[in-house]
Symmetry: C2
Subunit: 288 residues, 2 copies
Amino acid sequence: MSFSEQSQNKVFDGVLTKYAFTSSALGGLETKINVFIPPKASASAKAPVLYYLAGLTCTEDNGAQKGAFFEAAAQEGIAIVFPDTSPRGANINGENESWDFGTGAGFYLNATKSPWNKYYNMYDFVTKELPDKLKASDLPLDLEKASIFGHSMGGHGALVLYLREFGTYRSVSAFSPICHPVACPWGEKAFNGYLEGGVEAGKEYDAVELLSKLGKTNVDILVDCGLADNFYKQKQLLPETLSEAAKKAGIDANRVQVNLRDGYDHSYFFISTFGAEHIRWHAKFLRA
Amino acid sequence: MSFSEQSQNKVFDGVLTKYAFTSSALGGLETKINVFIPPKASASAKAPVLYYLAGLTCTEDNGAQKGAFFEAAAQEGIAIVFPDTSPRGANINGENESWDFGTGAGFYLNATKSPWNKYYNMYDFVTKELPDKLKASDLPLDLEKASIFGHSMGGHGALVLYLREFGTYRSVSAFSPICHPVACPWGEKAFNGYLEGGVEAGKEYDAVELLSKLGKTNVDILVDCGLADNFYKQKQLLPETLSEAAKKAGIDANRVQVNLRDGYDHSYFFISTFGAEHIRWHAKFLRA
């Protein structure tokens, strides 16, 4: 039930710890997370929490090692929680056949197709089980103050969790997110593979659909996407559809900021360049 | 002879490019480097160069991906060149048997023992062949303004190159360097394996020995080492011996700064925490 410490590193005067624990949302499998606690956080001065959801093929480590998030997070006094991107070791037939489905590709949804539905429930894991486990731990986290961000598939996850659990997260940001998965090959493959209703059921996990349904609301969304991103060029990300949906819903344009960045690609070099900006943007909401 | 571009990423408005080329110092094997060119560098405004030497088991990628060097380097207008840590694919018997000797562990020396001496000449590679190749390229680099830094085995390399080629590099810094390799297990293994004269011959590649021989001189050396570093505890690094040698030689204490950092370990989390400080320290010398 409880966290088992795997490793610990001091970074920017804060502490990054990797924990392992058994997850019921993930069918009883062991999962790992990284947690960054900023300096000066304590039981009497708990830190607000920013969740980081990583992209396809990644683990709890990529953002922690390559995102360059910790200097700004330490300065702003924000904790960052990095979950994994899927269950590991479910041993489902076909689980490890492709890099964009199965292991490393949980898409932050609750699967409804058997046998995936026993293990592939990253939506419940990130929105319910993980905060519950963190609350039950003695980590100095103020879980009532939470925001969320992510990259690519994790950007999709961050947007979807923010919009579906509206009010739970104070702000959402994303690097190169999959904005409209029902209309791109990655999303179609994932929804057809994990969901009984396929792509139609996938609308429940589609940021553009959810934003349209939410309508004119005071959202706080920040997106950065590189124009030299091959997945942008291949129309996997479709950030323009998010801006269009916001406009159509009558949402104030500066509450859904979508920045297209000249020359940047899909890599962590791009993320690291804008990482501190995202942290400081979330800090406005988390420390309000 | 010339650089073959492998990949390119925009980062902090600068450009990181990976090149492959054939190296004569490394016995005709192909080697790879990463080169970061800061924004605004051009043929008429060439950037000074900082070489980064990585540690055991690493490649040209570790510092580029995890060091968090590029924000400061972009701001200071400094290029960073990341060579690999050894030749690759020499196919010498025993080359891949241990993580601290052979592949990934070139120790920045010129081997004299056969068959290593045909390939394992990272000293000549970094001090001669690499600058020559960079000069012959059309990259906007001011190679007359060069400094060097590194981590662990690469910190050893940086210190040794700075002290042996005194005057070539304006400043040297290191994270967790192997300061006195003739007196630690890593150094003993490397020198006995690569050098005809073993550890005795290794004195020519030992920062403490070289600094002592150099005597009272205006060096500019900055070292950071974590007190929670397991290799520090195992006496592989011996940073105190560097301070003692400087003191004994009568060198001004603020010209050999050795900072022991409470709670930090040997990882890139430590490096990333102090990376920008090192870059800005080198910038004082490189832009003077």
